[in-house]
């Protein structure tokens, strides 16, 4: 059989029945597009996690003054414990060889007021070098310094959500606010940072110097958190070990008694999240793959219908000299053509949908070309697999019967 001539004729015949042709391709188009869209969404989520890792630095270890429980994959502190002090932070900074710096912090939810508007936010008292260690970027103004901390100065740096809630579009720097009943001067604002690994909104908070918070606002002698900067991300596990040993010793905890604090290793936390995101990507990619398989069933169904409608044509070709093998090849080629064109359209649709979703959600559009090629190759395989049966049916038609049928 003259393969290319027959293939060209097949294209013409398929194009002359647009409804039937589009119907058979529809499943494959949707399936391939779904795979591409789902995988790119998954990869976008992975990428955002990696970005967060990059932003926060993977050399941060956090000590929280409470035992933690693992709830829904995130660590949540359950009780308030009053065992950590600012002295512990100093001891860690001096006593642990792999630690560069340790920053003590307290926090409490308080009302912040300015000229008639108010909002409730998380007020965080933090030692001055916390800005550097925690990578907190400023949008305007300046951070407070160590001497303002020691002097218990009443200065505050506000997060963007707080600014929006009480200042609207006015410039907060230089303004006087009240935290609780105490007046503070706003000296700076931070840039948006989003939600951290524990689900806390890092934009809805007000930063004040540690001593100011402990003596003037909260009147407490203990702290809740210590932020520790490791020498590099290589030493994270060593830092965790050293800090745990030191704190247990300082608190005279005997062997077997559980920690009265929780150590969070940012790096492992985020890497775990990334693994989860990857598993999710594979799962939804797999589901989309099933959709593609269903698309193959669509090809099967419409091709069987087509074979029935083209019975005359098949009988005619046999009468004119087509062997059963020629008929089989013809219909198989048509199935592959349908699947291939459907696959290409699906890739185009998938890329379009990815860009549309990215624009809507303000992400980056991350098209995974390996996934797209795999989906396209799979669509061809689907075409072959689901085209075989109709092709066999077509080739087994008896010419006389076929010519006679209605």
């Amino acid at each position: 059989m003259h393969f290319s001539r027959n293939a060209a004729l097949s294209c013409q015949i398929l194009a002359a029945h647009p409804l039937r042709t589009l119907l058979s391709m529809a499943g494959v188009v949707v399936g391939v597009a779904a795979v591409i869209l789902m995988v790119s969404i998954g990869r976008g989520a992975e990428q955002r996690i990696l970005d967060r890792i990059g932003r926060m630095g993977t050399d941060l270890v956090t000590v929280n003054a409470a035992p933690a429980r693992l709830m829904m994959g995130r660590q949540r502190t359950v009780a308030t414990v009053t065992t950590l002090t600012a002295g512990d932070a100093r001891a860690i900074a001096e006593g642990c060889p792999h630690v560069v710096a340790a920053v003590a912090a307290v926090n409490k939810s308080l009302v912040v007021r300015w000229e008639g508007t108010n909002t409730t936010t998380s007020v965080v008292g933090m030692a001055a070098d916390g800005f550097r260690i925690r990578n907190i970027p400023l949008a305007s103004g300046r951070p407070f310094e160590a001497d303002e901390d020691h002097g218990q100065r009443r200065v505050a740096v506000l997060g963007p959500t707080v600014v929006k809630n009480i200042f609207g579009t006015a410039n907060p720097v230089g303004q006087e606010i009240r935290i609780g009943r105490v007046p503070f001067e706003v000296i700076g604002t931070t840039r948006p940072r989003g939600i951290d690994a524990n689900g806390a909104d890092q934009d809805d908070m007000a930063l004040v110097p540690l001593d100011t918070a402990m003596r003037r606002l909260l009147n407490i002698p203990y702290i809740q958190t210590i932020y520790i900067q490791a020498r590099s991300s290589r030493w994270m596990d060593d830092v965790e070990r050293e800090v745990r040993e030191l704190l247990r010793e300082r608190q005279r905890l005997p062997e077997g008694r559980p920690d009265t604090f929780t150590i969070q290793n940012q790096k492992t936390l985020l890497l775990t999240e990334r693994e989860t995101a990857r598993a999710m990507t594979r799962l939804i990619g797999g589901v989309a793959g099933i959709a593609l398989l269903v698309g193959g069933v669509g090809i099967l169904a419409v091709m069987l219908m087509a074979v029935r409608e083209r019975t005359h044509e098949i009988g005619l070709r046999r009468a004119l000299g087509a062997r059963p093998r020629d008929v089989r090849v013809q219909f198989l080629v048509e199935a592959v053509l349908l699947a291939g064109v459907g696959g290409l359209l699906g890739v185009a649709a998938g890329i379009g949908a990815t860009h549309a979703a990215a624009a809507l959600a303000a992400w980056d559009a991350l098209v995974s070309w390996p996934a797209a090629s795999l989906a396209f190759a799979f669509s061809i395989a689907v075409g072959v697999a689901f085209g075989i049966y109709p092709a066999l049916r077509a080739s087994r038609l008896e010419p006389i019967q076929a010519l006679r049928s209605d």
């Binding site: 059989m1 001539r5 013409q12 002359a16 004119l320 000299g321 062997r323």
Partner: protein
């Protein structure tokens, strides 16, 4: 060229056996124009299918140019149908979404060798005087023109014999005569034709008439005074002046 010896064809359905052909024997030489006539159920179509290699007899032999068709395999029969036999059907059986030229080229897809499809198709269309309509689709052609496209398709691979099954069955008188005129011209040019019909008037356009009854050949005579289709067409035009 064609030798049939004691051809029988039986259909078995469950416990019922139908004898459609009961021992048909005849020979057709090169260049003959034969009509096969009979009432429906007499076995004409079955005989035609066997002659065309689309069916095999239950017993007996069929030789085409010396080759025993009853022993040929499926693939070989397909090749012979493509090269040596041209079919013309009652219902035309054209592909309706492609034009006349491509319809005529269809058998060439299954032919060996690199024939220039367009040239062969063009010359076949010229043989049936349809060059002007080569790029029209069947829906844009009259019944007679469609059947002429089918004849061109049957001619395109240069077959040794043309088999026509009730070729005028779906056509009106005028178009039927046009088709018969083409058959008679092809016959004058030396082609071999076998035509099946139930209509004695159509049969009288051939040169030899075989009559089938109950699966047997009961008469095999030359046609005494064959009709001339072209003359009849001229008379038709003359009877109704101004009608094209």
């Amino acid at each position: 060229m064609i030798e049939l010896e004691n051809l029988t064809r039986q259909y078995v359905k469950g416990t019922a056996t139908t004898d459609v052909l009961n021992g048909v024997s005849f020979r057709v030489e090169k260049g003959e124009f034969v009509a096969i006539m009979g009432a429906s159920g007499a076995g004409k179509t079955t005989l035609m299918n066997i002659l065309g290699g689309l069916d095999k007899p239950t017993s007996g032999t069929y030789r085409l140019e010396g080759l025993d068709m009853t022993r040929a395999g499926d693939d070989e029969l397909s090749r012979i149908r493509n090269r040596k036999i041209g079919f013309v059907f009652q219902q035309f059986h054209l592909l309706d979404r492609v034009d006349a030229m491509q319809n005529v080229m269809l058998p060439l897809i299954y032919a060996d060798g690199n024939v220039d499809g367009r040239a062969a198709a063009a010359s076949a269309l010229a043989a049936v005087s349809l060059t002007a309509r080569a790029h029209h689709r069947p829906a844009e052609l009259s019944g007679g023109e469609q059947q002429r496209v089918a004849i061109a398709r049957a001619l395109v691979t240069g077959p040794v014999i043309l088999l026509a099954d009730e070729p005028t069955g779906n056509l009106d008188a005028r178009n039927g005569l046009e088709v018969l005129a083409i058959f008679q011209r092809l016959h004058r040019e030396g082609r071999t034709l076998i035509m099946i019909t139930h209509d004695p008037v159509v049969a009288e356009h051939a040169r030899r008439l075989i009559v089938l009854k109950d699966g047997r050949s009961v008469s095999d005579q030359p046609v005494g005074q064959p009709r001339d289709a072209e003359a009849e067409l001229r008379r038709m035009a003359g009877d109704a002046p101004g009608v094209q």
